[in-house]
């Protein structure tokens, strides 16, 4: 029997349990409104390493280790690691996997990688292939900045639509065991959407249509009312993209209006000079593996739809005048 429902949505027959999770964030994220909800806040951006790239990889590795040690597992007991990040050739994930010695699948969905990894992990568990899988992602402000934008010490004025790549890593452990909450109940795989946006300093505008299309597909496929969830969070649309998404909800007829927010907006407070908000894989990963899953385990959120959004361009395609293709994947987490 197919577990697919509608065109894009999968419903898990035995929803995998999120048995533990862990998050590491950089100093700036630690100073934000959720500083106390993360497992570890770094004191600086190098994390006792020689380069920012090594620091990011170490953050990812530590997030995985902390998540599995909460269940008293050794890395050798984990059957599969599904992971990715923003850097070329997803090096942070590759090098973290080198240290961990867990069978590894690399993922790239830009900033949507957390949802992409989680839904793939959930399919692997619900499909009966594995019973103990980790999904993890990372991003680092300075590694992303130097790859996608300008050298960090160059005096550049940021526009109000620009976003701040979060320094953060998050990991979730999925298990096929009875009992316990929260669980991944369904997921919607997004299509690549391109609405002709080309400004790399305004990614929220490029990604908002992809997020709304995926959310719409999710509700259409499952015949659910948009107020089914206690909270819908997008990954990193920022203030600009979030305002656009809310407008698009109305235009797409998503009524009644869902209780909606965005991880990139939530992650920082207004005084932190991040312009439109946070971005990067770590934005959704940190919010999920910090405050959100904590609130779910406390029963303060019982139904959550995480819609991680990704902008899929590279500096090369941008220079060649290409527009920004975007994607969003939705993962439903429920206490059942």
């Amino acid at each position: 029997m197919s577990k697919k429902q509608g065109r894009q949505t999968i419903v898990f027959a035995s929803p995998p349990l999120i048995s533990s999770w862990a998050s590491l964030v950089g100093p700036k994220e630690g100073e934000g409104p959720w500083g106390e909800d993360f497992d570890q806040v770094l004191h600086d951006y190098l994390y006792d390493e020689q380069t920012w790239e090594k620091a990011e990889s170490k953050m990812l590795k530590e997030a995985v280790k902390q998540a599995i040690s909460k269940r008293y597992y050794q890395p050798s007991e984990i059957e599969l690691l599904i992971s990715g990040d923003l850097l070329n050739q997803i090096v942070s994930a590759n090098y973290a996997a080198r240290e961990l010695s867990i069978p590894f699948l690399g993922m790239y969905g830009a900033c949507s990688t957390m949802a992409e990894s989680m839904l793939t992990a959930a399919m692997a568990v619900d499909g009966g292939f594995f019973s103990c899988v980790v999904a993890a992602v990372s991003s680092h402000h300075y590694t992303a900045e130097r790859q996608f934008r300008t050298p960090t010490e160059q005096g550049v004025q940021k526009s109000a639509t620009s976003q701040w790549t979060a320094t953060a890593a998050g990991a979730v452990l999925l298990e096929a065991v009875p009992g316990g909450n929260p669980r991944i109940t369904s997921a919607t795989i997004g299509q690549v959407i391109d609405m002709g946006q080309s400004d790399a300093a305004n990614m929220g505008s490029a990604m908002a249509p992809a997020a709304v299309k995926t959310i719409k597909a999710h509700f259409d496929d499952l015949n659910r009312s948009p107020d089914y969830y206690d909270l819908i969070v997008t990954g990193d649309l920022g203030k600009v993209g979030m305002a656009l998404a809310q407008e698009l909800f109305i235009r797409e007829g998503l009524l009644p209006q869902p209780n909606y927010s965005d991880c990139g907006v939530l992650l920082y407070n207004d005084r932190q000079d991040v312009n439109s908000g946070g971005s990067g894989c770590g934005s959704s990963a940190a919010m999920l593996c910090g405050p959100i899953l904590k609130k779910m385990s406390e029963g303060r959120i019982n139904r959550l739809l995480l819609v991680a959004t990704g902008a899929l361009m590279s500096p090369t395609t941008s220079f060649q005048g290409e527009t920004i293709p975007s994607i969003a994947h939705a993962v439903a987490l429920e206490n059942i």
Partner: protein
């Protein structure tokens, strides 16, 4: 059929662009311009002070101009190294890009950024990643003007 779907897509994009225009915050142009004017102006005043000082010590105007450039470039390199120039740039915008200090900042920032990839293929190769195009265009145009000068003065 194909052109119809393309036109529909274009209409959808146009409509979305209008929505973005309505929602996205406008840059604080007046505030930015005041910052740019004052910071850029002050950097030029500082350059003029150096030129005046050098000329009062017997340097000719050309050498004083070069000397002032070198000193400004040195200071920009120092402040970039100390991590202060990019802080200034957040507020000053073009005020700290247009003066020659902005050129120096682009070179120094690129050089520092790639230090961890080594001194030859990191610093050495990437030092002109931002400022290189500037020299390419400057040199090419100057040579072209020189050739025109030969053609039209003979």
């Amino acid at each position: 059929m194909d052109s119809l779907s393309e036109r529909l897509k274009q209409a959808e994009i146009d409509e979305y662009n209008q929505l973005i225009k309505k929602i996205e915050p406008k840059p604080p142009v007046i505030k930015n311009c005041i910052w740019a004017f004052i910071v850029g102006g002050l950097i030029c005043v500082f350059g003029q002070l150096i030129i005046n000082f050098l000329m009062s010590n017997g340097w000719n105007q050309t050498d004083a101009g070069s000397g002032a450039s070198v000193i400004l470039i040195f200071l920009a390199a120092l402040f970039t190294g100390l991590g202060l120039y990019d802080e200034l740039g957040k507020y000053a915008g073009a005020g700290s890009i247009v003066p020659i200090t902005g050129f120096a900042n682009a070179i120094v920032a690129s050089a520092m950024e790639f230090k961890r990839e080594g001194y030859i293929f990191g610093v050495g190769a990437r030092i002109f990643s931002v400022a290189g195009p500037t020299l390419v265009f400057g040199f090419t145009i100057a040579v072209f003007i020189g050739l025109l000068n030969i053609l039209f003065t003979k």
